[in-house]
């Protein structure tokens, strides 16, 4: 916490342009990608999840909610935004491929 105030002062001194607009775009992209992943996991869970359809959906929702914040933070937090988006995009494709399973 001690560096909180220091970093604010440093930011004022440097007068660098605010990256806020760039980060808003990155935040929206991260949200969309993480949401697509979570949606595909839940949608595909009846195809690959355990037990009855009810159990499989519950299982899918557990995974979706657990991984949503992690993927969001990865997509937003990586230094190179393209790398984060590609990583989460691959996770989305993997989740979507779950729809191809047949039980």
């Amino acid at each position: 916490m001690s560096s909180y105030g220091a970093s604010t002062r440093k930011a004022v001194r440097q007068r660098t342009p605010s990256p806020t607009p760039k980060w808003i775009g990155r935040g929206v992209l991260s949200l969309v990608l993480a949401w697509i992943f979570a949606h595909f996991v839940t949608l595909g869970s009846p195809h690959w999840g355990p037990g009855t359809r009810h159990d499989a959906v519950i299982f899918g929702q557990m995974i979706a909610i657990g991984l949503f914040p992690i993927l969001f933070l990865i997509a937003f937090g990586t230094k190179n935004p393209v790398r984060g988006a590609v990583f989460v995009g691959i996770a989305c494709i993997a989740a979507a491929s779950g729809l191809l399973f047949e039980r």
Binding site: M1, A11, P19, W23, L43, G51, G60, I65, F76, G77
Partner: protein, 486 residues
């Protein structure tokens, strides 16, 4: 501003935290109250004495006329059997928002003449729907996801100083530093609780945001006319046959569920469900034994035994905390309150950091007005609900609704007052006035309770009345102190 992981996470933490935090403050505050919803209902019905005689199953049938009346009105009534938390038998039904109840003496079966109230379940409904049904559920589930992201980014920001910051509270330091300390001290020790509640709470309402069908299909069903739309409400009202005697059925259900393991008896048109009490353990199984409402013959025993449903039941059990004793419930309450303090202090920090640069902007004033309406304004409305319960005439028609209206009117007025004061550049007065009124209402709740409750004794065993009054007193003193130091 440098572009590194910490600054990126700091930006995310601040903006998502503030945007969702005002709503999450209300969610955590109502959640803390909902932990004691049964006890609050008892405070809100002062005619029902604190103690009761032991339960006699033979008197169950004396509740049946009330049950039948409710069934004829098309409701789905249920009897709550006496428990450690509430020694009275109650016939309840859901009015679309709250569980309204009629208390009965557990030994004689006589109905107790108690005022009608929205009860403690008002806060339970606010907690997960904000009284707006499915839309509210969806918004709060999204806020739950935002909370998980905010907590994750907060952990990344504070990772280095997590343990040293834990021991650092400087209440008399500069204002921003003091609020930062409050934010960290309220957040860090209760982090496992916040993560657990955010995850389990969002999971419980996951169907609203992550349905197992595509969003396009979900959207289409919104515009598909319902097949029941042409059936008039009059035709839907069931004809209710005389109900069978309940004590033998209770005994039969206990042979399956275990001695004293039946918590509720739910009455549907085609079956009566003897449901396992929520206090039986951390798994909220909702296991039930069903009987026919016509002749009382056994229909079925329902229990979902798979590992996935057990996990789901465990998550629900640890979120609702209905199985816990009073000690753990107080821990839940304290943790929830600290969560609310974390959101309130985080919102104050967000505004303080931007006041110098953007204090004159209209968006800043709007944000501060919303913060005033959401933090002291919401607590003010909660106190107004308690005051309205005691001051509204007992014979008032639609009394529960009048209590709810009192809550929302006071919340609306305090939000509008907060916004107006902020737009006129008097935000400090806005905070001070609302916190002072909150302090006064909280401190004077004890005298109000003593004046409006019969059979009051200063020297008696700790009761729900004493606990509620004491909590209000603490809230009042804290509010007055914060108002003084602003």
């Amino acid at each position: 501003m440098q572009d590194n992981l910490r600054t990126r996470m700091g930006w995310l933490h601040a903006w998502i935290g503030f945007a969702a935090g005002l709503l999450l403050f209300c969610v955590f505050a109502t959640g803390s109250l909902a932990v004691f919803d049964t006890e609050l209902t008892r405070w809100l019905q002062p005619e029902v004495p604190p103690q009761a005689a032991p339960f006699s199953a033979q008197v169950l049938d004396r509740t049946l006329p009330t049950v039948r009346d409710l069934l004829q009105q098309g409701e789905k009534p249920f009897i709550t059997l006496p428990s450690m938390r509430d020694p009275f038998m109650r016939v309840q039904h859901h009015d679309g928002y709250e569980f309204l109840n009629v208390p009965f003496n557990p030994q004689t079966g006589e109905q107790i003449a108690a005022r009608k109230t929205a009860g403690g379940t008002f806060f339970y409904d606010l907690h997960y729907t904000m009284r707006t049904g499915l839309y509210g559920e969806t918004i709060i589930a999204v806020a739950g996801l935002a909370l998980l992201v905010t907590l994750g980014s907060g952990i990344i920001i504070h990772l280095k100083g997590l343990i040293p910051d834990l021991l650092l509270l400087r209440p008399f330091a500069a204002r921003l530093r003091a609020w930062l300390d409050v934010h960290v001290v309220a957040g860090v020790p209760f982090l496992p609780f916040a993560i657990m509640m955010a995850y389990t709470g969002t999971f419980i309402r996951a169907r609203t945001i992550f349905p197992p069908v595509s969003y396009i299909a979900s959207f289409e069903t919104l515009f598909t006319p319902s097949s029941h739309s042409d059936v008039s409400a009059e035709e839907e009202k069931p004809s209710v046959s005389p109900l069978p005697s309940l004590p033998p059925l209770l005994s039969q259900a206990e042979q399956t569920l275990g001695d004293k393991q039946v918590g509720q008896i739910l009455f549907l048109t085609d079956s009566m469900l003897f449901t396992r009490t929520d206090m039986s353990g951390p798994l909220l199984t909702r296991e039930h034994v069903d009987f026919s409402p016509v002749d009382g013959h056994f229909l079925r025993h329902v229990l979902l035994p798979t590992p996935v449903t057990h996990t789901q039941q465990l998550m629900e059990g640890i979120h609702y905390a209905r199985w816990t004793g009073s000690g753990l419930r107080w821990m839940y309450f304290l943790s929830g309150v600290m969560g609310a303090v974390m959101f309130a202090s985080g919102s104050v920090i967000f505004l303080m950091k931007r006041r110098k640069q953007s204090g004159g902007r209209i968006m800043f004033r709007l944000a501060e007005g919303l913060a005033i309406g959401s933090i002291p304004g919401f607590l003010l409305a909660t106190l107004a609900f308690l005051w309205a319960n005691r001051l509204l005439p007992v014979s008032l028609a639609s009394r529960p609704l009048a209590e709810v209206h009192s809550f929302f009117v006071v919340w609306g007025v305090s939000a509008i007052a907060g916004l107006l004061l902020c737009f006129y550049g008097r935000s400090r007065q806005g905070w001070k006035i609302e916190l002072s009124v909150l302090g006064a209402l909280s401190v004077f709740l004890t005298p109000l309770d003593l004046l409006t409750r019969s059979g009051v004794s200063i020297l008696h065993a700790p009761t729900v009345f004493a606990a509620t009054d004491l909590c209000a007193l603490v809230l009042g003193l804290v509010s007055l102190q914060v108002a003084r130091r602003l």
